[in-house]
């Protein structure tokens, strides 16, 4: 796994609670200079709280924060100086009731930047976010997507060393989302800005980030690159969160040079793993890795099961097909296949998946 050379932000044993509710529970995280880090996790997991603490908006109940190697004091003027090297784009863009220009310029003015330089920088950034004609518009009259771009411009114009983004595209239409994502990745490339982005959209994390951390219940359940997280979740909770819909309990019957056979009720699944025999495990298969067919002849996949369709649910271009092959399995197939295979309840099919697509997780290492 990529190990950052020197860290720009590091939190150690961070705990925080609001009243009775514990939000963060002894969290450790180190972010490297220039790294783009995505923080994924369900709502209420503590993503926003972590970002707020990193932005020095809040003082954690316990734990330390290091910025560029120095420990940040819990109060005092130094916090403002450090905060001015970071910028945080909040989830709901809070646009000041000023003109677009003044909204974008305010951070620079607060830093005592010279008037001419402010004008140059603001013009440049407005052009970058595609709002060059909006300078004198009242910012409150903008649409949601435009407001989000103003909020982003307002932070980017400060050329921060660290940019914190809280759900930068939540509640935006697909076109605006694509624009914002493009901006984020181009800034990360051009300025080598360190970014920490909270998102519940896993594909966004996958697209934009060098490294992903899964925040579950106030703790980092797993960090790693996208492949690690999505293919090899470390425990059941992470697996469920990253969309491993098929998590099947079983026991390793045999391990034959890296190919394990997992007994599940009366059936057996083959998978690539170095898990020893007799271990209780979960076998995880992403629903999009399961192929449905009327015969098994054309496939070289090691796993194929005769199954019966129990439910078909079409969402957009894809259909989620639940089948029973001795154990319950969910497959994600295109609508065309549904029509071609005439998939409907009680239809008999074969479920086929490769041994390499099955991720084996030892039981009991969760939490």
């Amino acid at each position: 796994m990529m190990k950052p050379l020197s860290s720009i932000i590091e939190v150690v044993d961070l705990s925080h609670s609001y009243g009775e509710r514990e939000i963060l529970k002894g969290l450790n995280l180190s972010i490297g200079k220039g790294e783009v880090f995505a923080l994924i996790g369900p709502t209420g997991a503590g993503k926003t709280t972590l970002l707020r603490i990193m932005d020095l908006l809040e003082v954690p109940a316990a734990g330390k924060i290091y910025f560029d190697g120095k420990c940040i004091p819990r109060s005092g003027k130094q916090r403002l100086e450090i905060r001015r090297r970071i910028s945080f784009v909040h989830q709901k863009p809070q646009i000041f009731s000023l003109s677009v220009y003044d909204n974008v310029a305010c951070g620079l003015r607060w830093r005592g930047e010279e008037k001419n330089r402010i004008a140059g920088k603001v013009d440049h950034i407005l052009e970058m976010v595609g709002l060059e004609g909006y300078k004198n518009r009242k910012a409150r009259t903008l649409s949601g997507g435009e407001a989000q771009r103003v909020a982003l411009a307002r932070s980017l114009v400060l050329e921060p060393e660290v940019l914190l983004l809280d759900e930068p595209t939540a509640n935006l239409d697909p076109v605006s989302t694509a624009k914002i994502e493009q901006l984020i990745s181009s800034v990360a490339r051009q300025h080598n800005t360190t970014m920490i982005m909270a998102t519940h959209d896993m594909s966004q994390g996958q697209q934009l980030a060098d490294r992903i951390g899964v925040l579950l219940d106030g703790k980092l359940a797993q960090t790693g690159d996208a492949t690690d997280i999505f293919r090899s979740p470390q425990n059941e909770q992470v697996a469920r969160f990253v969309g491993m819909e098929n998590i099947i309990e079983g026991v390793v019957i045999a391990n034959n040079e890296g190919i394990v056979t997992v007994g599940i009720g009366g059936s057996a699944i083959q998978a690539v793993s170095n898990c020893p025999a007799a271990k209780a495990v979960y076998a995880c298969i992403r629903p999009e890795e399961v192929t449905l067919a009327l015969s098994t002849t054309q496939s070289s996949a090691r796993n194929s099961f005769h199954a019966k369709v129990t439910r078909v649910n079409t969402i957009g271009p894809l259909s989620r097909v639940e089948i029973d092959c001795g154990f319950r399995l969910v497959a994600l197939v295109t609508r065309i296949s549904v029509e071609e295979l005439n998939l409907q309840v009680d239809r008999e099919v074969y479920a086929i998946f490769k041994a390499t697509t099955v991720h084996i997780m030892e039981k009991g290492i969760s939490k």
Binding site: L80, H90, Q94, F96, W110
Partner: protein
């Protein structure tokens, strides 16, 4: 009804003819109440920000007291200033009783709670997220307060307009500490009070209308400012 109509025509007459005494009285009313409102605003805007942005024990009680003082009777404030500045009083050596200065001080005391209370509530109307956003963008404490004041500018202006309205319309304090001395401390409200006592309802009503007309002009100007 005929009395009202007569009063109305007389008021128009006094206005159109630019009656020197009426102009003088109205001018004094504007000057005194404008000054007291301006000075009170200069004190209350920072003070209200201070109260709003700081947590301290007794904050709720303080705001409660401020709101209670909204209903302080104007004569009571007049009495207080009178006692304070009367020759035997603790501040008697200033010798400002029965001068416009005393009236300004009285009106400032009168409208301070009103301004404080409504500016605090104007600031509370700005969301916590705005404060956080400003802080995140690197605003210092002072810069954040300035931004929040700007965000709340319409509500703050409304508070100032209300303070001015209370100042220019009160009679108890102006009469008690000013003494309604012709050419010195005579203002619209004290004149209305005097003319009513004399039975000259027409002039009293006419002056009342002039006061409202002045208020209308001022409000129109301030509203124009708001819409910009």
């Amino acid at each position: 009804m005929t009395e009202l109509w007569q009063a109305f025509t007389k008021a128009l007459e006094l206005l159109v003819s630019l009656n020197p005494e009426v102009i003088e009285i109205a001018g004094r009313s504007l000057r005194i109440s404008g000054t007291s409102c301006l000075l009170a605003s200069l004190i209350c805007i920072p003070l209200a920000s201070l109260i709003h942005f700081h947590q301290f024990p007794g904050k709720r009680a303080l705001i409660n007291i401020i709101q209670t003082l909204f209903s302080v009777p104007t004569v009571l404030v007049g009495l207080f200033v009178f006692v304070l500045f009367s020759r035997a009083g603790p501040l008697g050596f200033f010798g400002i009783l029965l001068t416009p200065t005393a009236m300004v001080i009285g009106q400032m005391i009168l409208i301070t709670p009103l301004l404080l209370g409504f500016i605090i509530s104007a600031l509370s109307g700005v969301s916590k997220e705005i404060v956080d956003t400003a802080t995140s963008l690197g605003a210092s404490g002072f810069q954040t307060i300035w931004l929040v004041l700007r965000e709340a500018r319409y509500a703050v202006l409304a508070a100032v307009i209300m303070g001015f309205g209370r100042a220019i319309s009160e009679v108890g304090c102006a009469l008690l500490v000013g003494g309604n001395m012709r050419g010195v401390t005579r203002v619209i409200t004290t004149t209305i009070s005097m003319e009513t006592a004399k039975g000259d309802f027409e002039l009293a009503i006419a002056l009342g209308m002039i006061l409202l007309f002045l208020a209308l002009i001022i409000n129109t100007i301030l509203n124009r400012l708001q819409q910009r």
